[in-house]
């Protein structure tokens, strides 16, 4: 409800810049939510999720750059490509555990990052400016900020509803069981590796959709979207919002992006006295807030609002 009414409020306040900002929050929320499936429900600490977001962004962008404006082609292609990439990377990475899993997902993501960096035909490290946003071909023009916002909102809502169904389905229960006690899940007859891989691929595919939306949103894409710090940011968002909680990704993405924005745009006198150029280091505030969350709200912000124990 809040998100549906938001544009009206923003329009009334004549703050249309924030409409575009809100779209970015929702898209990032989708990316963080997809990571939460892997991290929160599958118990897999993937440090390479940006690779899938980035793959989706690039596939959708290349479609646009090659003169295929239809979102009905570009976005599913992005989802498919990211899902396949996740299937491949997951099939190898999931044979490892713990720190090794973190490192190998990171390594794969960096490989994709350098691969994209060297794609000279599509801008290389300079990035790729798009002629327009993708088009739905149904009348509503995604070039319009308000239309784009509502399309993104609809997609996120659908994704969250699917996520909700998924975590309460047979598959979701099996996935949580594997997170809780993998050896026993295997001993009950669950092919645990297969289930983890399916979750990993689904999350990759959803991340790819977020990437495609992100590329359309800014009409520009560059390899930084795949940089490992982006994977880290997504992890921070999930931890901030609530690991293994339905709304964790949304809350985390909104909180982090708002915080960064506030830190960069508003000059707090007391903080400036302490560190004069703190505004160039928005991550300082992020660090402090993350520290506070980890210490005082280990279940994330979502955990503060719910007495229910971890799913």
């Amino acid at each position: 409800m809040f998100f549906v009414a938001l544009p009206i409020v923003l329009k009334a306040a004549d703050q249309t810049f924030y409409l575009s900002f809100a779209s970015r929050v929702l898209i990032t929320a989708l990316a963080a939510t997809s990571l939460n499936l892997v991290l929160g429900y599958g118990g897999m600490v993937s440090f390479g999720h940006a690779a899938f977001v980035g793959t989706g962004a690039y596939v959708a962008s290349i479609a646009l750059a090659e003169g295929i404006p239809s979102a009905w082609i570009g976005w599913p292609a992005a989802v498919l490509a990211s899902g396949l990439a996740a299937l491949l990377i997951g099939a190898i990475s999931l044979r490892t555990r713990g720190v090794y899993f973190i490192m190998i997902t990171l390594a794969f993501a960096q490989m994709v990052y350098y691969l994209v960096n060297s794609m000279k035909a599509y801008g290389g490290d300079e990035g790729l400016t798009l002629p327009s946003r993708a088009s739905l071909g149904l009348g509503p023009d995604l070039g319009d900020e308000l239309t784009f916002y509502y399309v993104v909102l609809a997609i996120l809502s659908l994704a969250l509803f699917s996520f909700h169904r998924l975590i309460h389905s047979r598959f979701g229960r099996a996935l949580v069981a594997i997170r809780e006690n993998e050896a026993r899940a295997e001993a009950l007859g669950f092919p645990t590796l297969r289930y983890k891989l399916v979750a990993f691929a689904l999350a990759g595919a959803a991340g790819g959709l977020a990437g495609a939306l992100l590329a359309s949103h800014g009409k520009y894409v560059n390899p930084n979207i795949l940089h490992w710090t982006q994977s880290g940011t997504l992890l921070i968002m999930v931890i901030l919002g609530g690991v293994g909680r339905l709304w964790g990704g949304v809350i985390g993405a909104a909180a982090l992006l708002l915080l960064e924005h506030v830190m960069a745009e508003h000059r707090f006198a007391w903080l400036a006295a302490l560190a004069p150029n703190y505004q160039q280091h928005a991550s300082l505030g992020v660090g402090i807030v993350l520290l506070a969350v980890v210490l005082y709200a280990p279940q994330g912000i979502a955990g503060l609002f719910s007495k229910k124990t971890h799913a």
């Binding site: 598959f171 229960r173 099996a174 069981a177 050896a183 295997e186 001993a187 007859g189 124990t309």
Partner: protein, 251 residues
């Protein structure tokens, strides 16, 4: 039902299973005893597929399962339980058991339909809870159960998968005499429908339950036979030197 031939497993320089050969017949309770460190739990892990074997063969219902994954063996009916309780601590008793029922009934690659709507799953889980003596505890979190109840749930998880051969690793581990008694009675009731390979330290339980006994010493089967034969076996008595009294006690 189960035939093990010359099964081996090394951990570094130690041969935990050093050529184990063993036969379990359909319908029997076959006890596996032996001093600490004889390789009983390693053998259970090898048979169930939790760990891979270095050499040898495992035949289950006539099929060579030596290279099969654990979940494939479970589907065929070869299921283990754990000496050190391994349950889903943050699930309720009912959710624990429903999960085990789910594992064997239909595909878990179902992404949309809520599990909670599957009544059959929970009815079967309730039946298992009642069978292992956890009726009335269905909604308790597994972590909050008493030790004996957790052991019952441990067995319930294995039972809910409907095993044909149950590899029971010390069901009475850490239990008091009364709880042990109930567990022994429970296993005794199972024998009409499940074949059991029972690892147990409690000699009272072993001699009450076992149709046949195999003695494992240093990763090898020293002797197999009816309880009376094992009790009288001189080699077994030597291997159990420190434990001779526990054999005497029930003799």
């Amino acid at each position: 039902m189960l035939e093990v031939r010359n099964l081996r497993k090394r951990f570094g320089g130690i041969a935990a299973s050093d050529g184990v050969s063993l036969q379990v017949k359909q319908g029997e309770v076959h006890a596996l005893i032996g001093p600490n460190g004889a390789g009983k739990t390693t053998l259970i892990a090898q048979l169930s597929g939790s760990i891979a074997s270095d050499a040898g063969e495992i035949l289950f219902l006539g099929q060579d399962v030596t290279r099969q994954k654990q979940y494939t063996r479970v589907k065929a009916g070869l299921v283990r339980s754990y000496q050190i309780t391994s349950i889903f601590q943050r699930f309720t008793v009912l959710d624990n058991l429903a999960l085990a029922v789910q594992a064997r009934s239909g595909s878990s690659l179902s992404f949309w339909r809520p599990v909670a709507a599957e009544r059959a799953l929970f009815e079967q889980a309730r039946a298992v809870a009642a069978e292992v003596g956890l009726a009335g505890k269905e909604d308790a979190l597994a972590a909050t159960l008493a030790h004996g109840e957790q052991r019952a749930l441990e067995l319930g998880l294995a039972l809910a998968t409907r095993p044909k051969l149950l590899l029971l690793d010390e069901p009475t581990a850490g239990m008091g005499p009364e709880e042990s008694q109930r567990m022994i009675e429970l296993v005794d009731r199972l024998r009409i429908r499940v074949t059991v390979l029972l690892v147990e330290h409690d000699m009272d339980a072993v001699f009450r339950l076992a149709d046949r006994i195999s003695v494992l010493v240093n990763g090898r089967v020293l002797a197999t036979g009816a309880p009376e034969e094992i009790r009288a076996n001189a080699e077994v008595r030597r291997a159990y030197l420190g434990d001779a009294q526990s054999l005497e006690a029930v003799a």
